[in-house]
Amino acid sequence: MSKSSRRLLGLLIFGALAAVWFYIAYRLWQTSVPDDLKQPSVDMSTLVSSSELNRAKHFSLVLDLFGLAGIFLPLLVLGLYAKWGHRFMRESAAGPIGTGMLLAMLGIAILWIAMLPSGLGALWWLRRYGIEKTGYADLVIGTWSVLGFEFLGICLTILIVMGFARLLGNNWWLAGAPVFVGIAILVTFVQPYGFGHPLVGHATLVQAEKRLAQKEGVKAVPLREIDVSATTTAPNAVAMGLGPSRRIGLFDTILDGRFSEPELESVVAHELAHHKHNDLWKGIGWYALFAFPIAFVIAQLTKRRGGMMVPLAVPLFLFAYVAIPTVLLPIDNAFSRRLEAEADWTALQATNDPQAAKALFVNFVQTTNQDPNPPFWDPILFGTHPTDQQRIAMVEAWQARNGG
């Protein structure tokens, strides 16, 4: 086969793969929220007092600054580590993979040190507004302990990547990406078993969940209570698990009496909707969609350091491993917001109670201090959910359609 024919064949294969990629992305992007839904503008001052709104704005703005540090500081630190980190190779008597693990762990350790001041600053701010109860020493010790598990995670990553690289050279990404997707599936599956305990003392809510599940056309899943009130006051709920491990986790901070029964039913309907629409599988699909190109790009980038066969490339790998997902953060957040908006919509269909939904989102503003209408860049960088104002607007749009 001539060189030009090979190039043509390569282009055709690349084109076909790109077409498949875009088709899957398009399918995952679609939701059941009507495309022609017109969301009215909402005047939050009619729902929340101006002092609460000002407080939320002030709180969110400063918290966002710490959030920005959390995004850009790792890029700076790991960027420097990518340049200088190879010097730590002299601290190792291990083979290439062991040395790679050491370099990766040290990169994460340096990042932990660099992030500690902004972490403490964010904690100070959250404590000031009564959102967090964790002590400063607890934060340091807690994150230090978590660091051990992060070390294990990054070592496993390096073992997979360098192991395949030593077998397949720079084509390691072809085998590595499916393994990472497999790990994501496994983690999502087992996660519910490590969180919470059966929900007791909320018989009405359990009954309501069965009724809502029937309405949504999904099998009822066990409700679990997750104890976080010792460290935070922020209310939350999560849909967890896959297949038989599916659960709905309700933080004890949402069950502490600040939210009415109809509001809690809206929450449960929202989490059930995530299970109905297989959102956890969609999340894994989205991750898989990006895992291959990201791994490919990292393989190409690390070639200049000899490829992932040698530990010299690990600091650069670490930088790319953090930097590329950071660049993709706006797309990931947009995808997440679409799934959340769909869950809100499905929950409204199931509960048929827009007043409860609206009261819930107003209550969120009051209990979390989150700005209901933040600056445009905030949702791009941090918004995994629609803003509370957008969520209320959707409720009103639903009311307009359904005459609620």
């Binding site: 730590f88 601290e91 062991g98 040395t99 050491l102 762990m105 040290l106």
Partner: protein, 217 residues
């Protein structure tokens, strides 16, 4: 060679950096447990351990020696995962070929090891305390005090002798004295400048007239 220099960064995170090794020790150790039972039965029948089991256990002992040395700041470089000989400043010399062992002693090995384990336990607590002090010293000066290093190396030597005896790698009972073992190459106390080059040995000096030569590491 250990020049007593210690990287403050790796000293600060030393315990966490050992996490992957501790997981590996746990997994490998589970297999060693199974191998021990099989090896014990083999040793009772044929009067010596099986060769593959001997090599397997010897590699495990060499490996754990490097990890303990790293964890307790006795050595500076991050150890490898294979327990290969000649790969680390603090090294354990263990016989890779099985030697004849008394069947009666083999049968009662689990009981015989108890007194030595008591001494090993006491040494371990001493090592914890010394490591705590050494951690601060290394963080402040960037160096490991020689006395602490040598004390730790001798403690490891004895602890690993216990495990070697327990796992039937050797038939010689552990010996706690750092001086008696000198002929076998344990020079960490007597010759501190060459300490790093002189490996700690697992073999107890029960028969000093027939010592093993110290290996150059």
């Amino acid at each position: 060679m250990d020049d007593l220099r210690r990287s403050r960064l790796t000293v600060f995170f030393r315990f966490l950096l050992c996490f992957p090794h501790l997981i590996w020790i746990y997994l490998w150790g589970a297999l060693v447990g199974i191998v021990f039972i099989l090896n014990w039965l083999v040793a009772l029948v044929i009067g010596r351990p099986a060769k593959p089991f001997q090599r397997f256990n010897a590699a495990f002992l060499r490996y754990t020696t490097t990890v303990i040395a790293y964890l307790f700041l006795i050595a500076n470089p991050f150890p490898g995962f294979a327990g290969e000989p000649g790969s680390y400043p603090i090294e354990l010399e263990v016989p890779t070929t099985p030697e004849k062992q008394n069947r009666l002693k083999t049968f009662f090995r689990l009981l015989l090891i108890y007194p030595a384990l008591l001494v090993a336990g006491a040494l371990l607590y001493v090592t914890y305390f010394v490591t705590f002090l050494a951690w601060w010293a290394a963080m402040i000066t960037g160096r490991m005090p020689r006395g602490f290093r040598d004390l730790g190396a001798n403690a490891i030597r004895y602890i690993q002798q216990c495990y070697a005896y327990f796992l039937l790698v050797t038939g010689s009972y552990p010996c706690a004295s750092p001086y008696v073992g000198m002929e076998l190459g344990t020079l960490v106390v007597e010759a501190p400048t060459a300490a790093a080059e002189a490996p700690a040995v697992a073999e107890a000096p029960v028969e000093p007239e027939a010592p093993e030569a110290p290996s150059e590491t």
